[in-house]
């Protein structure tokens, strides 16, 4: 038997908006000026939310919190492309996606105070609760996609996770199943290059994460995760593909975790300030502002006004969040099951 070449593959990175704020017109997705401005506002809102959450944690007004700083384009750009009925299975570092999808901001903050009631997702949003056990939400998305197809619903199912999750068995099992069943799914990986203290090269020997999809029989693409247009465009294409029945897509958003893993972490123990500075220069918001300055009349003054508006929204949300009464002790038992069993009912009575 002669040796035969059975497969070759290529992996592409999509970039639309460069660091100077210039776009590649051929690759620029269709977006109105109003939509682009809205994306900008949502990225500012995400930044403001994040800065405030970290500050509140430092003041003891919030529990441990995982910052999203630097990942605003990956989150806003992807969520902005979704339609109302689409399902989202997040991990725990996609608050920018939640804000883009219209999650009530006081409720989003409330979760990070340690109040589980905040996980009661409003009925108009098909978002799953935050998932702290890394990667374990990914198979749920597979099930929702199977169910959607069984019901003939024209929805797409999106799951978010980070680079660390790609080392987990659930990532592999879910990707494999999505490929086998050609499911209408988007696997959106925010590759922020650090899983607490372990850098990407400690996580995988693969040159890219995107290429992992090839092993499961579907397309993987890397996008510049700090380029909101590239993220939006890749998401948009993958959604169209999913809805047309052509199966899943893996999108690796190459970005960077500017802040610590959580407010309980000190990234200075394991990575250099020079590396962080390099990525600060690639800030996704700065890049969009440079674009808007050239195209939509953005200037420092307008930027300041937009930031002040975002801060105002977050201020109001913090006030509202802090006016929520704490849960009663008996709420420990609420929603444990549809009906409490006799022992639980007895425990509740005595509590």
């Amino acid at each position: 038997m002669p040796e035969e070449l059975l497969a070759t593959f290529e992996v592409r990175r999509l970039g639309v908006l460069n660091e100077r704020g210039e776009v590649d017109q051929a690759l620029m997705p269709e977006l109105t000026d109003a939509e682009i401005w809205r994306m900008y506002e949502l990225m500012l809102l995400s930044r403001s939310f994040d800065e405030r959450a970290v500050a509140l944690q430092r003041e003891g007004r919030l529990g441990t919190y995982p910052p999203i700083h630097g990942q605003e384009a990956a989150q806003v750009g992807s969520a902005f492309a979704l339609a109302g009925g689409d399902w989202v299975f997040p991990s725990f570092r996609e608050m920018g996606a939640h804000l883009t999808l219209g999650y009530p901001i006081p409720q989003l903050l409330q979760y990070w105070t340690g109040d589980e009631r905040a996980q009661k997702v409003p009925p108009h949003l098909n978002i799953f609760p935050f998932c702290v056990a890394v990667g374990s939400q990914i198979p749920h998305a597979v099930g929702a996609a199977l169910a959607a197809r069984y019901r003939r619903d024209q929805v797409a199912v999106v799951t978010y996770f980070g680079d660390g999750a790609t080392s987990k068995g659930d990532f592999h099992e879910a990707m494999n199943m999505a490929g086998v069943y050609t499911l209408p799914m988007l696997f959106i990986c925010q590759n922020n290059q650090w899983a607490i203290s372990v850098p990407l090269k400690g996580q995988t020997a693969s040159a890219t994460l995107a290429q992992k999809a090839i092993a499961y029989g579907f397309q993987g693409v890397q996008v510049d995760g700090n380029d909101v247009f590239a993220v939006y465009s890749a998401t948009r294409q993958a959604l169209d593909k999913a809805r047309s029945g052509a199966g899943p897509t893996f999108i690796e958003c190459l970005t960077y975790r500017i802040a610590d893993h959580t407010t309980a972490d000190d990234a200075g123990r394991y990575r250099s300030e020079q590396e962080v500075e390099l990525w600060r220069d690639r800030d996704p918001i700065l890049r969009l502002e440079r674009f808007l300055a050239a195209r939509a009349g953005w200037n420092l003054e307008k930027g300041k006004e937009a930031k002040a508006r975002a801060n105002g929204i977050i201020d109001a949300a913090v006030r509202e969040m802090e006016s929520i009464a704490p849960p009663a002790a008996t709420e420990l038992f609420d929603d444990t099951q549809a009906t409490l069993n006799p022992r639980q009912a007895e425990q509740r009575k005595r509590h």
């Binding site: 399902w87 299975f89 589980e116 009631r117 996980q119 009661k120 997702v121 009925p123 799953f128 609760p129 056990a133 374990s136 990914i138 198979p139 749920h140 998305a141 597979v142 099930g143 929702a144 996609a145 199977l146 169910a147 959607a148 197809r149 069984y150 019901r151 068995g169 659930d170 099992e173 879910a174 494999n176 199943m177 086998v180 609420d334 929603d335 444990t336 099951q337 549809a338 009906t339 069993n341 006799p342 022992r343 639980q344």
Partner: protein, 320 residues
Amino acid sequence: MAHLNMVQAINQALGDEMARDDRVLLLGEDVGRDGGVFRVTEGLQERFGVERVLDTPLSESAIMGAAIGMAAYGLRPVPEIQFMGFTYSAFEQLFAHAARLRSRSRGRYSCPLVVRTPYGGGIKAPELHEESTEAIYCQIPGLKVVVPSGPYSAKGLLLAALRDPDPVLFLEPTRLYRLLREEVPEGDYVLELGRARVARSGAAVTVIAWGSMLERVLKSVENYDAEVVDLLTLNPFDAETVLASVKKTGRAVIVHEAAKTCGFGAEIAATLAEEAMLYLRAPILRVTAPDVPVPLAKLIDQYLPASERIQAALDEVLQY
């Protein structure tokens, strides 16, 4: 009324419920074309199609995880894990997600699924095919654990589980799959979850057992004035029925094929100590497997509680 074995009774329950409720669908390894390795799902893919009886990749965590997503979407999936020893791969999904989804989403999502898995020893199968680690799953608030002991209870309990609004682990005693035949009504009937049954009346001692051990217990007590309580549901277990019986007989022997330490017998014994201590005339005894891993076929008879050991325990408590 038909004379059915447990495989047939479970198959009938699944088929009837799938015909009644289009939200019910099955997924698992070899459950479709092959009808399951024990043929429990035989004929169901032909009858309901490949969309409702899904042959999955060999992927227990994703089977369980996908079932959770389906349930949250509004379906009533029935994942099969081929043997209880393989549920360990799916444990995180069951523990961290299925059991907690209603609670952690404060009721926005629920997880009405029934995990079916064969359990228990004595079938000459390879390693990890004969586990009986039910107690682990009873430590998970939000998850019900149901164990039928024969064809009649299997059908009635499975129909109840399939209509339960929360996740249920349904343990099918492998050794009994084809060992027993019982009269099983063809129509619809449910046995309420959380209710034990008195399988045999007696006055001198209460023997508490479930699933695979029940048949052995009933044979072992033939010459004793023993009452046998078949738990049927382990979580929540029917303390009321157990306590009423033990208060009457004053003696309790618990039989299970799982290892002794932290087996479910410990929970029953503790409940009896808390709530029936003053009615007891003898120490509560447990007849269990030793605290060792489940052996392969050559030693399984030395591992599982034998009739002689059950009878020795009865003789001991009856001395008081």
